[in-house]
């Protein structure tokens, strides 16, 4: 009896192995996706491929930009729903296998277009040449949208061949054409604040720079200051770097990092609204503010 069970087990194992081998071949050949689990907020090559494949199947109609945003998230969940996978919004191994099986990914087409900054699409069943937009993204792009999209199911047979045969020599890491920004801010806000932080605190330690950025944001939130980043920064006499033009120096990466940290919720100052350098402060009034702490050369106060 025991033996019979064992035999059965061996048989089943062998069958599974035999069945699995042909399935896994295409992946090894083209080495689609890296082994990582892709989740919301991720950036990079895998996301570009994920978006392209989802678009190929007609789940994703947004821009292929290499950032896993909400559009990609819902597309992925719909895909998981249609293909009977657990719906978790994570592109794990099983989901990726299914995707690779069901869709083609023309890496070269996508990456060329991304490199050239063109508008393009990557739908299955439409000639790729028709999916390239004009060199500088114009409004005509809408015309290029494939009409009469077929449903993913009907496309499956033709897609069965496996993943992107044309996928050529592996390219260097593709830079995504979009970026994550903290909620409520734009890249230009980040840039402007980085300018201010660099002008005000470039000699300070990193925390000191985060602190200056945090003070700007605390002021935006405060009722006694203007309600926008630019309003706060350009308030007359508010920042010496603005008054003497140092704000227009080109900020380094560290200043930008500091600004991002502050926008993402780090406030090393304990809700300070003012800061000053005790060696150069020109106003007696600032000394009367309740002081919270000192970071680098700056004293932070309420």
């Amino acid at each position: 009896m025991k033996r019979k069970i064992l035999l059965m087990k061996v048989f089943i194992l062998v069958t599974i192995c035999v069945l699995l081998v042909p399935m896994s071949i295409p992946e090894h050949q083209v080495n689609a996706f890296s082994p990582q689990i892709i989740q919301h907020g991720a950036v990079g090559d895998d996301v570009i491929e994920l978006q392209s494949r989802l678009q190929y199947l007609g789940f994703y109609n947004g821009k292929i930009d290499g950032v896993f945003g909400w559009g990609t998230y819902w597309a992925l969940r719909n895909f998981q729903y249609e293909f009977g996978l657990p719906i978790d919004g994570l592109a794990g191994q099983e989901t990726k296998n299914k995707l690779v099986k069901a869709s083609k990914y023309n890496e070269q087409h996508v990456k060329n277009a991304l490199n050239k900054g063109k508008k393009f699409t990557h739908y299955g069943g439409v000639d790729l040449n028709k999916q390239k937009g004009p060199a500088t993204g114009g409004n005509q792009q809408a015309r290029q949208q494939p009409t009469g999209q077929t449903t993913p199911q009907t496309q499956q047979p033709q897609a069965q061949g496996g993943a992107g045969q044309q996928a050529a020599q592996p390219q260097a890491q593709q830079k995504p054409s979009a970026t994550n920004v903290p909620n409520g801010f734009s890249q230009n806000d980040i840039q402007l604040m980085a300018n201010a932080v660099y002008g005000e605190a470039r000699g300070e330690p990193y925390v000191g720079q985060v602190a200056v950025a945090a003070v700007i944001l605390n002021r935006v939130r405060s009722a006694t200051f203007p309600n926008t980043v630019s309003g706060v920064i350009f308030e007359p006499r508010a920042f010496t770097a603005v008054a003497d033009g140092q704000i227009w120096l080109t900020p380094n990466e560290q200043a930008k990092k500091a600004v991002l940290d502050a926008m993402n919720g780090w406030d090393p100052t304990g809700h300070a609204l003012y800061y000053f350098n005790p060696d150069t402060a020109t106003s007696g009034w600032i000394w009367t503010r309740p002081q919270i702490k000192k970071i680098g050369k700056h004293i932070f106060c309420k």
Partner: protein, 449 residues
Amino acid sequence: MLRGILIGILTLGVAGTAFWGYQEHREKNAVLLNAENSYQRAFHDLTYQVDLLNDKIGTTLAMNSRESLSPALAEVWKITSEAHSDVGQLPLTLLPFNKTEEFLAKIGDFSYRAAVRDLGDEPLSDKEYKTLKGLYKQSAEIQKELRTVQHMVLEKNLRWMDVELALASEKAPNDNTIIDGFQTVEKTVESYGETDFGPTSIGLQKQDDNYKYLKGKTISEREAIKIAKKYAGANGNVDVRVTENGKGSNYGFFSVSLLNKKTKNESNMDITKKGGYPIWFINDRDVKKQSISLNDATNQAIKFLRDNGFENLDLFESNQYDNIGVFTFVTNENDVRIYPDAINVKVALDNGKIIGLSAEEYLKSHHQREIPKAKMAKGEAKDKLNPNVKVMEDRVAVIVNDLNEEVLCYEFLGVLGDDTYRIFINAESGIEEKVEKLRNAEPLYEDVV
């Protein structure tokens, strides 16, 4: 002969310099005048807006019908916001003018709340009416003061540039008429003290709970260092600096800075004196490459939080910035998300180490709460949504609403067009408490152009 040529050249040189100097002088004056004019505009605008504000508050007092009251209050709100922006354009930062600005903001807040509420269902209460009367009187006083200043400015041809200079130079006693005028305004407002704006304007008072929910004994400096070392994963070879909070802080904390002698890598951290909780932690390290996925980093963050006593957390947001993963977690209590209990973690994607933590909000709001039972069924709440929104996900959550109260809500994640929205419906009253449009990734402009 030679002398003649020399004299000629010199004369030319002198004449040239004089001409150049005159040009420069003219340009400088033009620029100064420009700056002066924009200050003047902001100032006269401000006095005009305050005039208008006083008038408008006066008219609302005489109104009775909802149809006219709501727009009038909305107008008051608009005027305060414009006056506020005018103040922001004047070089008053070095002058204590906060009280006046705060006062303006409070009037705005009060009128906004009254304006958006359905005055047919819930007319202005007697108390609010009294507040409005008080505001009318106070704004009249401010108006009078400002008009006096304005009169002086016009009569004596006073220049804001001089104000700037007077404010900037420490030595000069502040005897400028404009400064005096604004100081009087500030004093007048200060004397109003806490005008009672009623319960509707708590939203402005920033919640500053001073970490009242924290438990535990006061820690010593040495314990603070120990905690910081644990967070930074530092062993042995570090320079340690500890400072206490300044006198102006509402709560006690230690600031610990650890400098790794070998790598020159610095970690900074603030720790509450009471109980030794981490307020924030930052390790400034350049992360040059990505070798783990965002998902792995999430798991690292969860593990790190659990190891440090932060439990029952849900991943709320995850974002990758270059080679750094930033995560926001919120408490999950019996399948109810508690949004005020938010905690941020930063993970380096090269080795999965935690390089940042911000637990301020969490520490300030986390406590054992009584979560009320929802009075509405989920379906009922869903009926309150805009029918065009396609709901994709839902759950129960506690959020802080506009009035700064914690309320139990149904949370719906829905799609409308290409955009995703997070909508909170109050589980008791069915009010739409909050609707947020969730941000998509922003295209990089260099690539678009």
